[in-house]
Symmetry: C2
Subunit: 406 residues, 2 copies
């Protein structure tokens, strides 16, 4: 068996996407001991960089060593005690995931739903908050299953008015869509590297407001063997050790209390993702995603395809494209397979009610680029024609070019 | 801020250790989509490689996407239901960690202890099993906090005799010490990459016997949105979603049921760690660790230093060295700092009862090498002399050379 040798792929699905080569290069750097002064400096730099990415002054801004899902679970298991009421506005698969994780925390979970392809009015959320009186409102910003981006600007104030905490899963949206941790009054937000941040999955940036820090620290139980005299057990112990944010804050903080062994290579990758984003400028990166997302949207329309959902509330970085009826039941998968086999381009399938109904095409991170957009549209045109779908010759690339020209 | 640029370090502590450069190179490979046929083939190859590393035919042998601690928690939270009795033989800090995690699973935790620096007789464990009648015995193989390696060969039979499952945390030992998953009758074992496997922390190999698979699958609850008609909820739901082994088995298995987004770069690294080990031969790698461990042991003795603990039961890959009394209270840390600052060599401090009493020096993974051993001994001699400790000139390197010559 030889060293891993992946085939060349242009990943234009809903994520993971092709990593920025600079991130992979940073990740090939050699390891350093986990309490080496250089290492703790690097951890502090990474915290400072992610404060800029999340747009926050939160001291507690760091990484959870796992995929974005580990970040979500760390937030929920550390905030929610058994029996706590949580409200989850569900507008796609990842809202269901929040529900599922909150249930495993033994919380009392309440949901409200809109049809897939729509988002919530803030008033609908406030009505539910008034009715449920939750300790926590947990909401996804961008749900890739529907491509929708839930407006969050009013939710922090609503939650404060009703004395609820506000958690946001920003995995799919952060870095490619407007996100304002502090200005919007979010208490906890988590993300991943594999979407607009242009890195590999495996590290989950998190930011925690002082208010949420208070709630979490009120449940701090320091591990046997690390305890000193001042460490008294407080509150209901957090059900996970690995994802215990009270311990993780002591590990990333000045106390440097031993917890897990840092996933140093992922730390290097997460730091580089944030460094590149900050170097570009977060606003500039969001504008880049908006531009290339618009080009892809108009491009698929220019091919004669229909777009799913409330486009005014679409994330910049992904579009759901209706699979033409002419393709028949398994035609959607055949088109995806042909794109992958003949052109090395991956686009996404879909979950749940959209399965077999839409493809999801992403333009994010390193792949929010003109050549990636135009190559994808050119290849899609060829594959659709080859499968008997009537398409406008040059219509996709032409429409995208018009967006770029304007 | 520039790209990460770590200082050159030779990591000779209890882990993490310097990564094999081939592992870092494998990790710089570009990403591929998570259900790409090449990717699922690579996942299957990785499973096959880890079966050789763990010495098992267990079909369920795969990776948990987190550090070694995530692997431990995945095993315990998936096996233990609230109220289940678990027996933990504790002979160091990582036994306490198993206790701590099992408590958070709301299990009824029973411990037996031996003093730090010793291991258990199998009879003592069987007596406790007979008394406690646990569902699970959870034991560390190699506890770096004391350097001890618990003999496991008899424990599987003991557990079967009393109808208990046997879990082993092999993080610090696997690949550098004899380990026989099937021959010893272990039910679940977990590890990490950052010790004898020569990679970075962040991926936790796991292997699960058919017997344990039965216990875990009896608690399977498929996620809402992924469920099909045959999926009925069974048993007490596993308290974690991220670390739910029932779901992870469906994700790594032929069903390929979506769970987290694979940490592809860590997968590449984990695959390369195992590939290199299998290429060398697992027995040859264990012999290499035994040889360089012996050279380091005799080397520190040759410098006139004392070694802590029951050396007959020491892991091959780490030695605990008594800090000479002449150095005074903070002298141990000063020596470590001088080794790091002047020679770029890291050795380890200690926890709990051994804090301030011993250094821990590792020879593992890529650093189980002659030059790494001799450089460390040469530098340690200089630093000790500089701090006023009487040492035999050339005694460390000389004693190690004699081991290599024999």
């Amino acid at each position: 068996m030889t060293q891993v040798n992946p085939p060349p792929r242009l990943l234009m699905g809903p994520g993971p996407v092709t990593a920025d080569p600079r991130v992979l290069r940073a990740m090939s750097a050699q390891l350093v001991g986990q309490f080496d002064p250089w290492m703790t400096d690097t951890m502090n730099e990474t915290m400072a960089l992610y404060r800029q990415v999340f747009r926050t002054a939160n001291r507690q801004t760091f990484l959870v060593d796992g995929t974005s899902r580990a970040g979500i679970e760390a937030a929920l298991v550390s905030l929610l005690e058994p029996g706590d009421r949580v409200l989850v506005p569900v507008f796609g698969r990842f809202g269901h995931l929040l529900t599922e994780i909150a249930e495993r925390c033994r919380a009392e979970v309440h949901t409200i739903e809109v049809p897939w392809g729509a988002v919530f009015d803030p008033e609908a959320i406030e009505d539910a908050v008034r009715r449920v009186r939750p300790k926590l409102v947990a909401v996804v910003q961008g749900d890739t299953s529907t491509t929708m981006c839930q407006p969050l600007a009013d939710l922090g104030e609503i939650c404060r008015r009703h004395d609820a905490l506000l958690y946001c899963d920003a995995t799919a949206s952060l870095g490619g869509n407007e996100f304002e941790m502090d200005a919007w009054g979010l208490d906890v937000a988590t993300a991943g590297l594999q979407k607009c941040l242009g890195g590999p999955s495996g590290s989950a940036p998190i930011s925690i407001s002082d208010r949420a820090v208070g709630v979490i620290d009120a449940r701090k139980h320091v591990e046997a063997g690390l305890r000193v005299d001042d460490d008294v057990d407080r509150g209901e112990r957090i059900a996970s050790n690995y994802l215990d944010l009270a311990q993780l804050m002591d590990y990333w903080g000045p106390r440097r209390l031993n917890h897990h062994t840092e996933a140093t290579t992922m730390l290097y990758g997460a730091r580089e993702c944030a460094r590149l984003l900050v170097e570009e400028g977060v606003d500039a990166a969001v504008a880049r995603h908006a531009g290339h997302g618009r080009a892809m949207l108009e491009g698929v329309r220019g091919l004669g395809l229909e777009v799913f959902g409330d486009v005014a509330h679409k994330m910049h970085n992904v579009v759901a494209v209706e699979i033409p009826a002419a393709l028949g039941a398994s035609g959607g998968d055949k088109v995806r397979a042909a794109l992958l086999d003949d052109f090395g381009i991956e686009i996404g399938t879909s979950f749940g009610p959209l399965h077999g109904r839409v493809w999801r095409i992403g333009t994010m991170g390193h792949n929010a680029r003109r050549d990636a957009v135009l190559l994808t549209l050119a290849a899609l045109e060829q594959v659709l024609r080859g499968h008997g779908v009537p398409v406008t010759a040059g219509g996709g690339v032409g429409a995208a070019r018009e967006v770029y020209a304007s």
